[in-house]
Amino acid sequence: MANLYEKYVWEVPVRVTHWVNVICIALLSCTGLLIGNPKLFTLSTSDYLMGWIRFVHFVAAYTFTVSVVSRLYWSLIGNRYASWREFLPFSSAEGRRGMLDTLRYYTFISRKAPHVVGHNSLAGTAYFVVFLLYLTMIVTGFTLYSEHAPLGATHKLFGWLMVIFTNQGLRLTHHLTMWFLIAFAIHHVYSAWLMDVKEKGGVMSSIFSGYKAVRKEG
């Protein structure tokens, strides 16, 4: 275990947006499920339970959007592990080789766990897909939200989507994408645990501290 040292990998904006996203997705999923299929036991008409649930959903949605946009901006100016290049490994031959190696490890064909400081190639690709899901959620969400003000700026910006995909189509997409993100979250926590155990780089704690245990080459 020689040559191990602590390397600063995840900068503050990366960690902050990560945890903001976690909280927002949890809040948005819980409130979203209740908005889609309310199971409330309100006794009085003077209550405002659904009103508050929707309020939380909309505030979390704005917070999530700001977080995602900030992270996209940081992918342009952050360090190499935060860079947008990390999320497009399939654009280079080396990245494609990395994807194949990681896939071979995950499917028990190879015993060599990927040794990378940032995201492994397969993870980077997964996050690229997740960012597309985020954008799908943000766009469909704000399109549906804009229905309350048909002359507003948001409706002018997104209203054309209603015409192409129809209101019900957008609703269904918004709903199904939530389940895809929940499925991703399950996979994400598991993979991080697996890599923490196998890679021994402290990846689990790195998303709190920013540091990973890295071994110097040679």
Partner: protein, 374 residues
């Protein structure tokens, strides 16, 4: 009768009325007439002070001729106008204004009737108002709807193209409506699509609310221009607000009180119909405020959710009528998005759980900390 006719220089017969006199003959008092004008100013979202101006306009302004065309329709909008419980002032006003051609109600038939229409188009070019009910089939040169040997699209292009303005009444005339529902066998479209370039105001609804038609015509008579419309060509005074936002059951929605099944205690108490598939949150119409049949009721008040009938292609885009979400395409009828979603989530958990078990018992994986990249 209180009207007189005189020949104009062009030879056209022009009607000169005094509406208030006429109404009095029909048993409508001046007071009722003023009440009607006040109601109309409210429908148009104008201050009450406009009521006298509306009365004056109806009394004095020379009213344009109306022709009412019916194509692929059920005459439901005509019914909505004519079948009120009592003859309303609105009905009488439209009766007086109109109507040189209306297939359902006119006395003339055959060549006589068609000649009346041709005469309006010929002699009052650019001065009459065309009202269209029903969609216009475009497929196969429009053969699926022919009147007096001419296709609907042919008639519409001539009559609406030469009109001062066209009012499309009902969802069919506005956006194709039921005949345009998938797979749209006749290629049905609304007037504005069939007659590009015509000045069209859409008054969708199934049927339209006759009050909105009266208000649109009166708006023209008072201001000499058509009302402001939204992106779908609908007047903002009637379609500018969402049903959900003016709904009498909205408090139950915000509180969280929902009907779970037809006839349950919540339904009896008049709770929100959101879970029964009500499309009020997606539909723009003044049903909650204007209501139907002299403000007697409207669908949600009678315990049935809104089905979004004033939205384009509602038969395809607002279905299923009694559920919030459509079914996921490619899965069985009983599969909802949530069931499939939970399957995806559970499947993921099981798959990775199994992977974890295998990984935990697997020895000899290499990995001693991430390696610094070269």
């Amino acid at each position: 009768m209180g009207d007189s006719t005189r020949e104009t220089s062009t030879g056209a017969v022009e009607h000169v009325f005094s509406v208030s006199e006429l109404l009095e003959e029909k048993g409508v008092s001046r007071r009722d007439f003023m009440k009607f004008c006040t109601t109309l100013s409210a429908a148009l979202a104008l201050p009450a002070g406009f009521a006298p101006r509306i009365a004056q306009a109806l009394d004095e302004v020379k009213r344009p001729t109306l022709v009412w065309l019916e194509f692929q329709d059920c005459a439901g909008d005509t019914e909505a106008l004519l079948r009120a419980a009592n003859p309303t002032v609105a009905e009488l006003i439209l009766d007086i204004l109109s109507v040189d051609y209306h297939e359902t109600v006119m006395a003339a038939a055959g060549f006589q009737a068609e000649e009346a229409l041709a005469k309006v188009v010929r002699e009052q070019k650019g001065k009459y108002i065309a009202i269209v009910e029903g969609s216009i089939p475009m497929k196969d040169a429009g053969v699926y709807c022919c009147i007096a040997g001419r296709s609907a699209v042919d008639i519409a292009r001539e009559v609406c193209g030469n009109a001062l303005a066209t009012v499309a009444v009902g969802t069919c005339a506005s956006y194709g409506g039921l005949p345009a529902a998938r797979p749209n066998p006749t290629g049905a479209v609304g007037v504005s699509q069939a007659v590009p370039g015509a000045k069209v105001v859409n008054l969708p609804g199934c049927p339209l609310n006759a009050d909105n038609l009266t208000a649109t015509v009166v708006h023209y008579l008072v201001f000499n221009k058509l009302p402001a419309t939204d992106a779908l060509g609908r007047p903002l005074f009637a379609y500018g607000k969402r049903i959900h936002d003016n709904c009498e059951r909205r408090a139950h929605f915000d509180a969280g009180q929902y009907v779970e099944s037809w006839g349950d205690p919540a339904h009896a108490k008049g709770h929100c119909l959101y879970k029964m598939g009500c499309k009020g949150p997606e539909t723009y119409h003044n049903c909650p405020t204007q209501k139907f049949n002299e403000k007697t009721s409207w669908p949600v008040a009678s315990g049935h959710g809104c089905c979004g009938c004033s939205q384009p292609q509602f038969w395809d885009t607002m279905t299923p009528i009694y559920h919030r979400l459509p079914n996921v395409p490619g899965f069985g009828i009983e599969s909802s998005a949530d069931k499939i979603g939970m399957g995806i989530a559970a499947g993921t958990a099981v798959a990775f759980g199994a992977h974890g078990v295998v990984s935990a018992f697997r020895k000899g994986d290499s990995g001693e900390g991430a390696k610094e990249d070269r």
